[in-house]
Symmetry: C2
Subunit: 206 residues, 2 copies
């Protein structure tokens, strides 16, 4: 009952996923990489691909899901680390940027397919970003006592800033990446300060 068979299947499935990620990291966008080449790099015959995925698209969606999942887990870990003191903004953004550096290929896929390809791709990406926003929003409401409305506006803004900053890291070396990270921290603080000012403004009115 070891499932020696299922184990092997899972192994080549992962080989396909890795192959796709490698070819992605090179230069080509996802849409320009071919079933045959992916299969070749994974070390199986082209036709065997279909034992694991219906399409290349199905493989792509898997990549998007995995990328989003990994990011969420990482950020949740980071948030726990914060509970023992430290700036949430700094730790979160540093974690995020490190993730982008470690998973450039899939993160690039995420951003690229956000505004292209098939509708299902776009929806999948939006879903991942929404997860990110929702967790941030809850934090702002529960820990910082923001209104739901203002928290929503704020988290959406921060998500836009952070994901864009992630995209800025693609071509650059580590030194430059640190500069971008510091800049992003300042930008998020700018937003936080704006939100704080807005909150006071609304309180005074009422």
């Amino acid at each position: 009952m070891a499932g020696i068979r299922a184990k092997q299947k899972e192994k080549t499935r992962q080989a396909l996923i890795n192959a796709a990620m490698n070819q992605l990291s090179a230069e080509n966008g996802f849409s320009s990489l071919s079933l045959r080449e992916v299969a070749r790099e994974a070390g199986i015959a082209p036709t065997s691909f279909y034992r694991h995925f219906r399409d290349m698209d199905e493989l792509g969606l898997t990549l998007v899901d995995e990328c989003g999942l990994a990011l969420r887990q990482l950020l949740r870990q980071a948030r726990q680390r914060i509970e023992s003191g430290g700036s949430i903004i700094r730790v979160s953004i540093e974690t995020f940027m490190q993730f982008v550096a470690d998973n450039t290929a899939t993160f690039r896929l995420l951003l690229q397919e956000r505004s292209g390809r098939s509708r299902s791709f776009r929806l999948a990406v939006v879903r991942e970003i929404d997860h990110f926003k929702a967790e941030l929003e809850d934090y702002l409401v529960n820990e910082q006592s923001f209104t739901r409305e203002l928290a929503e506006l704020q988290s959406d803004t921060i998500a836009k800033i952070v994901f864009s900053a992630g995209a800025d890291c693609f071509d650059v070396d580590e030194e430059e990446r640190e500069i971008i990270t510091e800049k992003t921290i300042l930008q998020v603080r700018l937003v936080a300060r704006g939100a704080e000012a807005t909150r006071r403004l609304l309180k005074r009115e009422s």
Copy 2:
């Protein structure tokens, strides 16, 4: 000296550009559209393509340039309209969103190739966004008396927000687009308020 020959050449060149834009607006990313199909839609033989562009890439870069140029001109016009009174933020963002709605195909190309394809593509896109930021930054320094440093931070933030919001408009209808526009206006005001608060903070320190 009418240049009857050059005129015809320019005409088919435009036909190629239009054909590419059409095929882009459909569903396919730029990398997945082919020289042959573009030539077919433009009504010329595949091999005649080379009389106008070395590559598909060269055509793509042309599209990026044209898109950026059109956007800049539009925003400059909008800014002139503002000089006779009106909210800069509102007018600029509404103009921007209208542009995205009218030029979805090329704007999508812009954002897509921002994080993919060849390096030259990415650089071209970055250049266009930098134009956008530079004009905004100058405005903040000259008209709003911000420090260069704070203006730079602010314009970069706003550019990230606005371009992301543009991407959010791709799939949606006009009603939804107006909602996004209003939201974006609020977000940019958030940043402006944060920058204002930061400026006061710095002034008090010195």
